[in-house]
Amino acid sequence: MSRLRTLWTALLGLTLIAVLGACGADGSAPDGPTVPVGQPVSGGAYVHALEADPNGCLDGTQQRYHVAFNIIRQITDSLVDLDPVSGQIVPWLAQSWQISPDAQEFTFKLQDGVTFSNGEVFDAAAVKGNFDRVIELGPAAIGAYPILTGYDRTEVVDPLTVKVVFSEPNIQFLQGLTAAWLGFISPSDLAKEPAAICAGDYSGTGPFQLDHYTKNDEAVLVRRAGYDWPSAAYQHTGEAYLDRLVFKFLSESGVRAGAVQTGQAHSISLVAAQDESAIVASGAELFVTQPPGMELVWIANQQSTYGGDPVVRRAIALALDRAELLTLYGSGFEIASGLLGPATMPYYVDQSDLIQFDPDQARTVLEEAGWAEGADGIRQRDGQRLTIRVIVALTEQYELLQAQLKRVGVEFLIEALDTASQAAATDAGDYDFYVWNMTRADPDVIKAIFISGLDGKGQNRSWALPSPADQYLAAQGGAADPAQRQADVKAAVDYLVEQNLAIPELTRAWVYAVAPTVQGFAVDGESKLVFYDTWLTD
């Protein structure tokens, strides 16, 4: 019989609340909840302006769009939660859990007395039904399905004990459970059409329930009566404070800014850099959070001409003037300090010594490899121009990047692709570098991107060839021992960055603006909004 390692995380969670409270009091935690002033008051209708419609779908299982999760997170709960300050996994609907040493069996003890908003009971059978639904949906469960890689079965041990069994090690499962893509819907909803569930026709166990959702207009949530099973990362117990929670979809940044300055919205997402000073002047506060995961990174296409050339990769890594790129952005953006980040991210590795700006060195490297400067400043070798093809998710960087690379003799042609053409180029691997970031508070986020043998499938933007990174990327996914996993992650990210197969660029930030009447504005461990602790002062 295998020895099971037990994590008495309930205790840990309680300790964390105490620690969190202390952090909040002196305001030293930049990503933590805003410092509450006075006694929380129950009641009020709250308006938050999101930057877009949730793409017509409020089913977490069928979603991968961050805007949608900001709404869904209020309606459904998860088995475990990720504490935004400590980066630790804490109890939620599961009071405690055990992971087998081979990271293939996960056993959860569930909270008693949890119900869905339609009155149905949350128990082991409900957990099994929800996980089985993800497998039935298959790849259409675009967020949740990859978390259940190697899923074999879920066993109902007793009504409050459930065991999830995988056919291969899957340590990232625990962290994957924290996100709203594996939030639970009631057993009677499971048989409904995917389109109906997308439209919001389901019941969750969350602190709010959906009143109505009108595409392109609003989603209106109301407080769930009798709610008393918050995650250990939250600040209070019992019901949420707000009576009513309204999400509006305002795509114009100027309109969002005006809305929060005039009280038409209590808070807004995605504050534009140019609006920050006016918002602060109006008395509203900025709330800045850096989403954990893979930083904004230049991913080399290892099967392309220049992405596969170590000299060109090194030259680009040295030529990027990250400080200059920062001038494009507002609060919270920083020069990346590694492939994973920010520093609060679980299994973070500080690689700042590997990230340098040295254009002279870049020129030397290219010169030594025989790339001679042509008449127009662009280098050539054997009649071949050094022109790289890059897909950049953040198009505002185009002009600066073009100028920075030209300084060392590398040509970067700006191709403004529409979404469909960009998807086609991505699928075909028709690029040398792909500049991308990915939010997920688990180092497993880089595995699918950088492991070899996938040849561009899924998130494999690197079209990776076999390398020493493979064994570490695979090993960290099966390492149940945190120290071993940390060592594997460090070996993988160090190899990728030293070889410039991944060139970290910037840390991204989400900037929210919050009106002065709002207390307890907060995000979860993956920077999604959580309104459970939020209240209004008048």
Binding site: L250, V255, Q264, A423, Q459
Partner: protein, 319 residues
């Protein structure tokens, strides 16, 4: 009368058929694989396995030969069935029906404002006798046409909503939330109406029978209301038909700025998300509205001036 009506109706049906066919060719036939295009826009085509792609292809009918697809879709469209939205998997007609009331309210108020403002400005400009006043009034319509809708919308919300806090800048809560978007949409529409009407009014003022009326001692106001205005309405009426097209086009920008869930926002998002059935559905629907309105305008003109329908007569004026 019957023959005229029949010819106009046949023309209307022809326009609708052409719209359907052109959008079909542009949206379904020209790009490589519509399923890849549609899912590619969501960035997840590569995560789908081939079996699932085949299944989706079947759901949307892309496994059929193109001519058969065309006929099937045309037959379905005649029954009002434009297929399912890729994004929400809801029938396209349901999506349109949900968005339509919001656009109707907006367009209705915008048209009413535009008509009032257009007629008042054009009439005042042609009636005014002080040169500086005339010049100012005549300069207004070209200015209104030249202002970009998004600028007007953002400026109006900046002043009326954010600075003076008189009206909401977004939402669909009651009449107050309708005012700023309707004003935004009314500016270009009233301007083009005023431009045409004022030109027509000037031409009529110079006509010989007006001179005759004036020489008989009729007052200017009497001449305006009894002779000039009626005779100048033709071109403005014809422009009104085209205006409906402007309103639909303007709703894309207006509804986006003011976050209203109408047809314009629906089509704008459908285009960025490559939701092909929705784009086609809205395009054909917009064409239908346009065609019907112009048919009605033609009939009204026919009632006003029956000689238009006589063989060899001039066609209605189309500026």
């Amino acid at each position: 009368m019957i023959r005229y009506l029949g010819a106009r109706l046949a023309q209307a049906v022809g326009v609708l058929w052409a719209t359907f066919t052109v959008t079909f060719v542009l949206l379904y036939v020209l790009p490589q694989d519509p399923i890849v295009t549609m899912l590619g826009a969501r960035g997840d085509s590569s995560s789908l396995d081939p079996a699932q792609m085949a299944e989706l292809r079947q759901v949307f009918g892309f496994d059929q030969p193109v001519p058969l697809q065309y006929l099937t879709r045309l037959a379905a469209a005649l029954r009002g069935d434009f297929g399912l939205s890729v994004q929400t998997r809801q029938p396209v007609l349901h999506e349109i029906a949900q968005a339509l009331p919001h656009t109707l309210a907006l367009a209705g108020l915008a048209l009413a404002l535009a008509l009032t403002a257009g007629v008042v400005i054009a009439t005042a400009a042609s009636y005014a006798t002080r040169p500086w006043l005339r010049q100012v009034l005549f300069a207004l319509p070209p200015l209104g046409v030249a202002l970009p809708t998004f600028w007007v919308g953002l400026t109006l919300s900046q002043w009326f909503s954010f600075r003076w806090r008189l009206l909401p800048a977004f939402g669909t809560d009651g009449f107050r939330s309708l005012i700023l978007p309707a004003l935004t949409l009314a500016v270009p529409v009233s301007a083009s109406l005023a431009q045409v009407l004022s030109q027509s009014l000037i031409a009529t003022w110079r006509a010989p029978h007006i001179g005759l009326a004036r020489s008989k001692g009729a007052r200017r106001w009497h001449v305006l209301t009894h002779h000039v205005f009626r005779n100048s309405l033709g071109p403005a009426l014809a422009v009104l038909g085209l205006t409906v097209g402007n309103v639909l086009a303007g709703s894309v920008v207006t509804e986006t700025i003011f976050a209203r869930p109408g047809l314009g926002r629906l089509v704008q998002l459908a285009v960025t998300e490559q939701d092909i059935p929705v784009v086609q559905g809205v395009a054909v629907f917009a064409a239908a509205v346009f065609v019907v309105v112009n048919l009605v305008v033609d009939l009204v003109q026919f009632v006003v001036t029956p000689q238009l329908a006589r063989p060899g007569a001039a066609r209605p004026v189309r500026p």
